[in-house]
């Protein structure tokens, strides 16, 4: 099975008819075999080894960069006074943003009873976890002395008798991100339990069965268990929904609480959340499209899923566009000299080209999603998503650097240039992220089997 491209599945149905959520002819059995097969297959496909090898190389690069950083200090990066925050924070916000789609899909869409979420929520959640892991790296590295940051930021009774400073948004960040990671992990984890049971029961060798047996914790599909399980799942969804909104709001407060013109603004939270979902869905597509293609999952991740993601991207993209225009408008309308200076700096300053590329990536390019043709053509979607992803990174760069490089006193205006170490760290995390993702695909059911079963017609109880 696996890697053959069954194109006919990607053929658009006649007008007015929406593509199905699950390809025709799937039964409880086939679902189990097709998805479980990826994990239990005897032979791991060659492309998997190639990709993992590449990622391991990038991961090595990341570690080199980190080691050198710990040895020398953040001076190896481009940061300076006035631009005290550079790539580290840009990447942090970017990764955190990406990490939003997962929980959003699994939680909010679940609450809205969106059936189509089931075949993508599992790896979307995994994506969330891995993205948050990348994000989590940066605030620590960014101090250059993580061995201090690691424990002074948490309220631990040390002999100094001093504590974290809870008025600082950075502390809010510490709590928000760590909570977000934990909750996402739990959510993902309990979702996996029944599927581990499935793997346990369908695995061939005793060892594999034992391994998944332990992970499944003895799940046996009892009605009483299912009942509590469902409640817990729903509750988590209910908790994760405000959480996912709060996390990026808190991240946005890292900026909004400051006095720096361009940061000091009240509409950052919604603006950031929208942006996060925007980039999150872009990332979902960037993972889903190759995944369904490489593993022949077109039956489970159908055009319907791609289209819906595309629509969500379009919607959030428009919110983002609105935010940009508001930023400019408020700047002009406030008639505050610092705000005006900011607008001026963005449009005509030394970094103006960054700003215009950003506009193209996040506002112009996504408009193509109005076209059904674009929404239904995987490879185009993939490219659009990539553009959006770039744009969202640039957005963070603009917010961080273009606000700091010219703030209050002209005497201290400055420039920021990234170094090769900055780049190595950024690309390294991309490699790390992909590595984790492909390990996940190989060893865990990338699509929620038990939930998918519930969608099949035969699974309904007839009266």
């Amino acid at each position: 099975m696996a890697t053959k491209i069954d194109d006919e599945i990607d053929v658009l149905p006649p007008k007015g008819v929406r593509p199905p959520i699950i390809g025709p002819g799937q039964t409880l059995g086939t679902v189990t075999d097709r998805i479980g097969g990826i994990v239990l297959a005897k032979h791991t496909p060659v492309f998997w080894f190639l990709i993992v090898a590449l990622c391991v190389a990038l991961f090595g690069m990341l570690n080199t960069a980190i080691a050198y950083l710990l040895g020398r200090g953040v001076g190896i990066w481009g940061v300076n006074i006035p631009v005290g925050w550079g790539f580290a924070i840009v990447n942090f916000v970017w990764w955190i943003g990406i990490g939003h789609a997962g929980t959003l899909i699994s939680a909010i869409l679940l609450l809205f009873k969106q059936g189509w979420r089931t075949s993508i929520n599992r790896f979307a959640e995994a994506m969330t976890l891995f993205a948050v892991m990348q994000a989590g790296l940066f605030p620590l590295l960014h101090t250059g002395r993580p061995w201090l940051a690691a424990y002074w930021l948490f309220p631990i009774p040390l002999t100094m008798g001093v504590w974290p400073q809870f008025r600082s948004p950075l502390i809010w960040d510490v709590f928000a991100v760590s909570t977000y990671f934990t909750v996402s992990f739990l959510f993902w984890g309990i979702g996996l339990i029944p599927d581990f049971a499935t793997l346990r029961d369908s695995a061939k060798t005793l060892l594999v069965r034992r391994i998944y047996g332990m992970l499944a914790m003895g799940w046996r599909g009892s009605a009483k268990h299912w009942n509590r399980y469902e409640t817990a799942y729903m509750l988590l969804a209910g908790l994760a929904t405000p959480l996912v909104l709060s996390v990026h709001s808190v991240v946005s407060l890292d900026f909004a609480v400051a006095v720096v013109p361009g940061w000091h603004t009240t509409f950052f939270p919604p603006y950031f959340v929208a942006g996060a979902i925007f980039s999150g869905f872009a990332m979902v597509l960037m993972l889903a499209i190759p995944f369904r293609y490489l593993y022949g999952m077109q039956d489970f991740i159908t055009l319907r899923h791609l289209q819906n993601c595309a629509k969500l991207m379009l919607a959030t993209g428009l919110i983002v566009a609105y935010s940009y225009s508001m930023e400019m408008f408020i700047g002009w309308y406030s008639n505050d000299k610092f705000e005006l200076g900011l607008v001026h700096n963005r449009l005509h300053g030394p970094y103006s080209h960054y700003y215009f590329v950003l506009i193209f990536c996040n506002i112009i390019a996504p408009q193509s999603l109005w076209l059904n043709k674009v929404r239904s053509t995987p490879w185009i979607l993939f490219i659009v998503s990539m553009i959006v992803q770039t744009g969202m990174w640039l957005e963070r760069f603009v917010i961080v650097v273009l606000s700091l490089n010219r703030d209050f006193l002209p005497s201290s205006w400055g420039m920021y240039w990234w170094t090769k170490w900055d780049m190595m760290t950024l690309i390294g995390t991309m490699g790390f992220f992909t590595l984790l993702f492909f390990l996940f695909i190989r060893f865990m059911p990338a699509i929620s089997i038990s939930e998918l079963r519930g969608l099949l017609p035969q699974s309904k109880v007839k009266e």
Partner: protein, 1042 residues
């Protein structure tokens, strides 16, 4: 008052505690093996450091300097690993066992942990700046001005502040060498004795001495003695930044050499003909003059003096002028003549000047005439004799002579015109008349006029079969390569001596520490020739003054003099002389097309003597804000013609042209032009300097060294290489655009205030019309409108509340405060590349802003320390509370708590916070540890730092006051002025005032009560404790109308 640990300073003269100074030899030996402790309490303690347990301290990485050393960088992985291992346990790391080494016999006056102050003086050029030096266990750590001495009034210039670093400079010469081979002192002595006998025989024929100008009476007497023993010997003088023009001018006017002394505090109108008396010590008396001049601008309500300046190369003097015209060098003398004619100097006139200059001259002349006897005409010291003569004549004609200007005998011993003197020497050498040449201090091979070919001349001497050159110098410099014998020279803080301040007062020098590198003083070297080879500097000094002192109270008198640092009533009496404008040569023809090449000493490196001083290299030049290089000023117009990037003032070049991008702070890539003068060429980075005259280029001396220490190596271009005898300060040459570029590390890239108006300025009239001009009611938040609680209600800021007021009127932008801060607070030097990256560490920087027409803009200086905001934006955002508020209103920075998020810096509207992006502090060079101020933490990698209002001085004073049981209404009664911050203490213009704002009688409280007082960026509502007194200038209404 310079003592910050005791209300009346422990002033002690070193001879009272002879045995005190610790055994430096052993210290030095042990230092070699010592590893990095962050500071210590006694020298002995330092001298024996336990090397083990380094890793345990990794979370404030001691000796982590190895990162910077490429060799051990290889094993950084291992060490990083170690630090990671400690991560979890950092709270639990044990301290290594440290040792403590008491004295064997503790000197009587020493209280361990308390500084002692000694009076001494720093020789600079041909005169001296009287000083008090703070020593900790006999390690000099900080230099202050001697408040009891009129030449200092407690202030210093940046060179004095930086001289501490020179003392400890590890690059200093350490060996007596013979043709480059190390030799013992005895062997040197032997070979010189031979010479002495030889020259005794031939009456000193062929025996020559070359020194810089000196004002040391003792040295003078020694030279006189030499003249007697060796009648045929000659004493030549050379210092590259000489004042021959002024000398000749004085001769021209008075028929003899005299030094003018100005009384700026008594002058209502000052006209400067390129007289750069507000910039640096190359103008004798700068420190005192800045104080005097600014004393007339402190309170506009009491009226102000008025300053007219006509200048060539832009200086801070011009920046402070009420009316400035940029003129080309050749035009200056014409202006002088026109002015002289107008103020009624007979025989003047004949100057052709253009309309603008005419207007300026008319106004200035009118003003001068209205203030006869209460005005001054200041001639530049780097100009033609005629100009100086004219100035003297004008002062005479205006009746200023004797009132605001007096004349004294030159402080230089046996004054000569240096160019003449050095020329004679070279001629004699070429004529083969020189066998033995003793070069004391200085670096002639580098800085003697290039067309004299001094190097080649020296070669002749050394290669001649009986030739010998002895060099006494602090560094191994270009000249050392030619010397037969090189002897390390003792730093002024290591040697006994005497000299005179600019007003002639004798100041005594006493050593703070035994010579670190076994240096010898000039007197000791000369003594060899006067047959007292083993007499110490102290003996000679004492002997000389014994002979000078009449009266039988010598001992008491001597002790008092040493204690005070100067000899009472030794100021030169004013001479009754009248300037006769005799045969003044006709003014030079002005060639509008010729390019004038102007030579000036560098504002921070001077003539090259401070080339290896990291503090001075990193101190921005006041006008260009450039560091680590010298540039060539050209006018914005010329830059335009060349199509260069033009430095913005708000008259031109909006800050957004792409051209301007690289001008944003950090690395500013400048076009390189090639200067040709007398057929000699040098490539220099062109710097478009607002206010620079057209058709002229200003070059700065002291850079482009071929042989210097690790710090100065490779910095800048060598202006001496095109400086011939005929054009010592100006010549006519040509410039050629080249393709090259030159990265200049500048600390400020935007010189326009944009819309921000950090500096509020007005004319005297505007001020009198609206005293509140510095305030903008719409923007300034009221005390009431704040969501925050009033911490005064909670008992904060109740007792002592520290504040600072900075008078923008007074600040002359001389940078003394910045360097003083480096010395007081152990600030690290980061080097050119890091400055380009925007990582300089300066705690108090001076922002320079230009406004108006770039051809002749108004210039504003604004010293910017930490504002110590009561609503500090930096504090709220720190996640670990590493920067928080003290009850006295200080914005505390807790280095050991900082994890380095840099959020505080981002959120600081004034950008006064500095971050240790790498391990900038030098933990490895042992000798630098001796220099550090033990009361201030040395900051390590990854730590934010900033101005603390010199918290260590505040604490010391508070403890002192409490122990003396001084309290008044709930406050600890610390007398106003008892605490002086380092910047305040150094400031010659008295522009920075610090004190307790809760004490209504304190100076700072009274200044803050003035209407001129405003806070920068008040609209951000940070409520800064550091506020500014708006700049008010005093333009001539006549010119205003025009």
């Amino acid at each position: 008052m310079s003592n910050h640990t005791d209300s009346n300073p422990v002033l002690i003269s070193a001879d009272e505690i002879k045995p005190a100074s610790p055994e430096l030899e052993t210290v030095r030996k042990k230092l070699a093996s010592a590893t990095g402790k962050r500071y210590w309490r006694t020298v002995q303690e330092l001298a024996d450091e336990p090397a083990f347990g380094e890793l345990l301290q990794r979370e404030f990485p001691r000796g982590a300097g190895e990162w910077l050393d490429p060799v051990s960088r290889r094993n950084f992985l291992k060490l990083a690993g170690a630090s990671m291992a400690l991560a979890g346990l950092a709270g639990c790391t044990r301290q290594p066992i440290e040792q403590i080494l008491p004295y064997v016999r503790q000197p009587e006056y020493l209280v361990p942990g308390k500084p002692i102050f000694f009076a001494t003086a720093m020789p600079f050029s041909d005169y001296a700046l009287p000083l008090l030096v703070e020593t900790h266990e006999y390690r000099p750590t900080k230099v202050e001005g001697n408040p009891q001495h009129g030449a200092s009034m407690g202030a210093t210039d940046l060179f004095a502040q930086a001289s501490i670093l020179d003392l400890y400079d590890p690059d200093r010469s350490v060996n007596i060498t013979y043709k480059g081979e190390p030799r013992p002192w005895g062997e040197f002595l032997g070979s010189i004795r031979g010479r002495v006998l030889y020259h005794n025989a031939n009456k000193g024929a062929g025996l020559r001495f070359l020194t810089r100008a000196t004002a040391s009476p003792t040295f003078g007497s020694q030279m006189a003695a030499i003249q007697q023993t060796f009648p045929q010997s000659k004493w030549h003088r050379w210092q590259p930044v000489h004042r021959d023009g002024a000398r000749a001018g004085s001769k021209m006017a008075f028929g003899a050499y005299y030094d003018p002394i100005y009384k700026f505090d008594a002058a209502d109108v000052v006209v400067s003909l390129d007289g750069d008396f507000l910039s640096g010590s190359w103008f004798p008396g700068f420190v005192r003059y800045a104080r005097d001049f600014m004393s007339r601008r402190k309170d506009p309500d009491k009226g102000m003096n008025r300053l007219y300046v006509a200048e060539t190369c832009p200086t801070t003097t011009g920046a402070k002028a009420d009316h400035k015209i940029p003129v080309r060098n050749s035009e200056l003398e014409h202006i002088a003549r026109a002015l002289a004619a107008k103020v009624g100097v007979a025989g003047a006139g004949g100057g052709q000047i253009n309309a603008d200059q005419q207007k300026w001259v008319d106004a200035a002349a009118a003003d001068l005439m209205q203030h006869k006897g209460k005005s001054i005409v200041v001639p530049g010291v780097f100009h033609t004799p005629a100009l100086c003569a004219l100035a003297h004549a004008m002062n005479a004609a205006l009746g200023n002579a004797g009132q605001t200007v007096t004349y004294i005998d030159p402080v230089e011993i046996a004054p000569v015109e240096h160019l003449q003197s050095i020329r004679e020497l070279v001629d004699d050498i070429n004529a083969g008349k020189v066998e033995t040449l003793i070069i004391i201090d200085g670096n002639p091979v580098y800085d003697v006029p290039v067309d004299l070919g001094f190097g080649d001349a020296l070669k002749k001497v050394v290669t001649s079969e009986n030739g010998m050159i002895v060099q006494l110098a602090i560094y191994n410099n270009e000249t050392s390569e030619y010397a037969t014998w090189h002897v390390p020279m003792a730093h002024y803080l290591e040697s006994w001596g005497d000299t005179r301040s600019f007003d002639g007062a004798v100041t005594l020098m006493q050593p703070m520490i035994a010579p670190l590198y076994g240096g010898k003083s000039a007197n000791e070297i000369i003594a060899i020739f006067t047959d007292q080879p083993d007499s110490s500097g102290y003996d000679m000094l004492r002997a000389y003054w014994r002979s000078q002192h009449t009266g039988d109270d010598f001992e008491a008198w001597w002790r008092r003099s040493l204690h005070d640092g100067y000899i009472a009533n030794s100021v030169f009496p004013a001479k009754q002389v009248t300037a006769r404008l005799g045969a003044v040569p006709p003014p030079p023809a002005v060639d509008p097309n010729a390019i004038e090449i102007i030579f000036r000493p560098d504002p921070t490196i001077f003539d090259g003597a401070y080339n290896n001083n990291g503090w001075l290299q990193e101190t921005p030049k006041p006008l260009s804000r450039g560091t680590w290089d010298n540039v060539a000023y050209i006018s914005p117009n010329m830059a335009n013609e060349f199509g260069f990037f033009v430095l913005e003032t708000d008259g031109i070049a909006t800050s957004d042209s792409q051209k301007n991008v690289n001008a944003d702070h950090q690395s500013d890539s400048q076009n390189v032009i090639e200067i040709t003068l007398d057929g000699r060429k040098v490539k220099v980075p062109a710097w478009p300097q607002p206010g620079h005259p057209d058709q002229a280029v200003s070059l700065f001396l002291g850079y482009g060294r071929k042989k210097t220490g690790t710090v100065g190596a490779g910095a800048g271009y060598d202006a001496y290489s095109v400086r011939p005898m005929t054009s010592q300060y100006v010549g006519s040459g040509s410039i050629q655009l080249t393709k090259d570029h030159w990265d200049i590390a500048i600390t400020q890239g935007h010189f326009t205030m944009d819309t921000r108006e950090p500096v509020k300025a007005a004319s005297l009239q505007q001020y009198l019309d609206n005293k509140q001009f510095a305030h903008n009611p719409e923007e300034e938040p009221k005390e009431a409108d704040s969501l925050y609680p009033d911490f005064r209600q909670k008992g904060w800021y109740k007792a002592n509340a520290w504040g600072m007021a900075i008078d923008l009127n007074s600040c002359v932008g001389c940078q003394a405060c910045s360097v003083a801060c480096y010395a007081e607070n152990n600030i690290s030097v980061v080097g050119k590349y890091q400055v380009q990256r925007g990582r300089e560490m300066m705690w108090i920087r001076i922002d320079t802003y230009y406004a108006g027409d770039p051809a002749n803009p108004s210039v504003y200086f604004q010293p910017l320390p930490c504002m110590q905001c009561e609503n500090a934006p930096c504090e709220g955002v720190c996640p670990v509370g590493a920067t928080v508020h003290s009850t006295e209103g200080l914005n505390d920075m807790v280095y050991n708590r900082c994890v380095g998020t840099r959020y505080c810096s981002n959120n600081c509207p004034y950008k006064v916070r500095r971050f240790n992006f790498l391990l900038f502090a030098d933990y490895t060079t042992p000798v630098l540890k001796l220099m550090r101020n033990p009361d201030v933490t040395v900051r390590s990698r990854g730590v934010m730092e900033k101005c603390t209002y010199c918290i260590q001085r505040i604490t010391a004073a508070r403890i002192n006051a409490e122990e003396q049981n001084r309290y008044t209404e709930g406050r600890i009664d610390i007398r106003d002025g008892e605490i002086k911050t380092a910047c305040q203490q150094a400031c010659p213009a008295d522009a920075i005032i610090f004190g307790d704002i809760n004490d209504p009688n304190s100076r700072v409280a009274q200044l803050k009560a003035q209407p001129r007082n405003y806070s920068v960026l008040s609209e951000v509502n940070t409520r800064p404790r550091t506020t500014y007194l708006a700049a008010v200038n005093n333009p001539n209404p006549e010119l205003e109308k025009a």
